[in-house]
Amino acid sequence: MDNEKIISEVMGGGLRVLNRIADSPLVERLGLEQRAQRLVYEGAKRAAETAAKAAKRLAPKRSSDRPRRSRKFDLSLSEEQQLMRDTLRRFADDVMQPAAREADDRSAPPDDFLETFSELGAMAMAVPEGLGGAAEQVSAVSQMLIAEDLARGDMGLAYAALSPLSFVNAIVHWGDDQQRARLLPSFLEGETTAASVAVVEPQPLFDPNALRTTVKKRGPDYLLSGEKSMVALADRAKWFLVAAEIPKAGPRFFLVEGDAAGVEVTQEPAMGLGSAGLGRLKLDDVRVARESLLGGAAALKAEGQAAYDDAVNRASIAWGAMALGTSQALLDYAIPYCNDRIAFGEPISHRQAVAFMIADIGIELESMRMLVYRAAGRIDAGLKCRREAYLARTLCSDKAMQIGTNGVQLLGGAGFIKDHPVEIWYRQLRSIAVMDGNLLV
């Protein structure tokens, strides 16, 4: 029995009596109100003391070799996260924002973009020291902050930068020793910069738990067939992590080489995110070895399902973080615009109809942020987060687009033409509700 239950029992009985005493005509008739109050006071005091003692006695003993982790509600970042954040924000402002328009026009990131990004060391932060990286402890919160800050620069380019990172995250989280040894060094050394996760499929009502991409067993190998949509860096990825349905086992991830036979990549122009180099992946009986199942043979059991569920949650957090970054960029852009734009002889921001839209963007952005942060924080604390990640995804799907459309509205005609970045953000923010996969923290 946990502390809370004990305390409930101690208190509950006394409280039920309270109503009866209060309601008693006898107490009133005898003028006993004061004494009844005194009685309740003493009783409550004793109950609280007992409960406090019980809580102390029942507190789990902590092992002395492990320092007690802060278990207080906390919104502050670690020093390391703050440092990373400062670096990435500068990168977003100085490199990504200026490159966003051209990359969107030509539907590809700038040629050296991935190389430049890799110099910031985000990859090393995603891999623990024991596996050759630099992270004392891999953190979903840190990965989420990276996504948020990059998307503040440009969501399409952020998608390009985060795809290899997501691929590496998956290897770190769920790969077996052999897969880690085979793949991680080349990413850490900067040899491989392009890789992607491919979960989303081009069909209405897409559900990552009801994949149409299928797996057949052929001797010691697997055959994958199906279509994957909106895959970043599709024309240059050395590796794809493809989600596919294994009959009876459920959805799992497979490592597929970009040039494997049966893999056909076509450009996939879309409403937004083009600067990530989007492509459609057609898999036609693509033959991969048994060792390509992420997590090895063990993944065929329940732990494989648990890993996939985890990936779905982590995808919700990643895209939620993207929504945060782009929405923040939009708010930061709309504010000076509305302050500078004069109509009827004064800045339009002096009108409540305009100002209230700004306030609402601020409120809903902060709402999204809290839900996304909470889900990521739970992962780092070792807690389940399916509910929290799903609620974050639900809220972001709705509010991100609302912010996007209001952003254009605030600029009016100027928001609709390509002189300003707001129309890019509008098109990108539509993706938040659509992208149920393809990234993960």
Binding site: S8, M11, K45, A51, L77, D360
Partner: protein, 402 residues
């Protein structure tokens, strides 16, 4: 480190308040909704109970009278009185909003005293149940426009004016009254005064009949040549036109998250209950798959829950900032705006989802939908919160963005 869960101590606060809400408030909730203006005598015992819990080291540092901005310390992150009070209020309002704001010695006036009073006043007013009187027939949201006046006559302040919508105004031991020292000097001249209940010249002239929170009394008060000691002015009598409203307004940074908590509590009551009722109809909530392949009812429950979480987390954020001495005016208003509008939407939607049962007095759903409306109005309406937030985000003065 980002960790948005409740600490052990906060869980203890939640649990204690929940016991009160469940065992004391819920059973008498409908009774006092029907018997408007009858004093809920259970509350006196409850006040004694709360004091007892505090003395026994239970709910340490929680309550409206403990609200203040934390002081910077090197001791790391704090989860203090602001968070405890918000979480306690959430639970109590899960039980009953009207009763929760009628607990003796937990009036909004107490928050004002804690925030503004000097050491001597804090001692003198300790244990006092203080209501808050700001609104007047001619000044609501434009509170800088109040007409109640205060003038110094020897050692006494003389108050004259009329106040309405005073929560607990007929029950509290004292009323904290906003009055102006000089109507020509604008908001800087507005000060707050502690007026004990039996002071000659202060009179409760009517109790409003209301749509919701009927367990709580809402009084109209007149002040006619009402004399109080000079020492009952909270803060300083100096009129500093540069600092403006700051003295009286800073209370709101602490109380708005608590009002947000009221919304969070009543909305959770409706949401939980609706979920139970719908479970009986075979509607299960599953946090996976596309929202569009679910039944409309299930999808609606999930959407409402996401919005509710947003209100709750914004409340916790604003309170956490106050506890950690981080300026939180914007966040306090955000929490109040979001939690209140979400609470109203959710409670109304729950009535609709539950049909005739939701609408009937057989159930509490219809009551929660009536109670929730005031939360988006008092302590600054939705629109006032939006104004405050917009001014902050846009960097505008109140003379520019009006």
């Amino acid at each position: 480190m980002i960790y948005l869960e409740l600490s052990k101590n906060l869980k203890l606060v939640v649990n204690q308040a929940h016991q009160v809400a469940k065992h004391v408030f819920r059973p008498i909730s409908r009774k006092y909704d029907r018997a408007e203006h009858e004093y809920p005598k259970e509350l006196d015992l409850l006040a004694a109970l709360m004091d007892g819990l505090n003395a026994g080291g239970g709910q340490k540092g929680a309550g409206i009278d403990t609200l203040q901005q934390g002081e910077g310390t090197d001791q790391g992150v704090r989860n203090g009185a602001n968070m405890s009070t918000c979480l306690g209020m959430t639970e109590l309002c899960w039980g009953d909003v009207g009763l929760a704001i009628s607990i003796p010695r937990q009036g909004l006036g107490n928050a004002a005293i804690t925030a503004v009073a000097d050491a001597d006043q804090k001692k003198r007013f300790k244990g006092l149940w203080a209501a808050m009187a700001i609104t007047e027939p001619g000044a609501g949201s434009d509170s800088a426009n109040i007409r109640t006046t205060a003038r110094l006559d020897g050692d006494e302040w003389v108050l004259d004016g009329e106040k309405i919508y005073v929560t607990a105004g007929s029950r509290a031991d004292a009323v904290v009254v906003w009055a102006t020292l000089d109507r020509n000097l604008g908001r800087a001249a507005i000060k707050s005064f502690v007026v004990p209940r039996d002071t000659p010249g202060m009179e409760v002239v009517r109790l409003d009949k209301k749509m919701g929170i009927r367990a709580s009394d809402t009084a109209s008060i007149t002040l006619t040549d009402c004399r109080i000691p000079k020492e009952n002015l909270l803060g300083t009598a100096d009129i500093d036109t540069k600092r403006g409203f700051s003295g009286v307004m800073q209370t709101f940074d602490n109380t708005r998250p608590v009002v947000a908590a009221m919304g969070v509590g009543v909305a959770r009551a409706a949401l939980e209950h609706t979920r139970e009722l719908l479970a009986g109809e075979g509607i299960e909530v599953r946090y996976s798959g596309s929202l569009f392949t679910k039944s409309a009812a299930e999808a609606e429950l999930i959407r409402m829950e996401a919005e509710w979480e947003a209100g709750r987390l914004l409340m916790l954020k604003a309170a956490w900032m106050a506890d950690n001495a981080i300026p939180n005016s914007t966040e306090a208003s955000m929490s109040k705006a979001k939690a209140a509008r979400v609470a109203n939407k959710i409670t109304l939607q729950c009535v609709e989802l539950c049909g005739g049962l939701g609408y009937s007095e057989e159930d509490l759903l219809e009551k929660w939908a009536r109670d929730s409306k005031i939360i988006d109005i008092f302590e600054g309406t939705q629109q006032i919160q939006l104004l405050i937030i917009a001014r902050r985000l846009l960097g505008k003065r109140s003379s520019e963005l009006r």
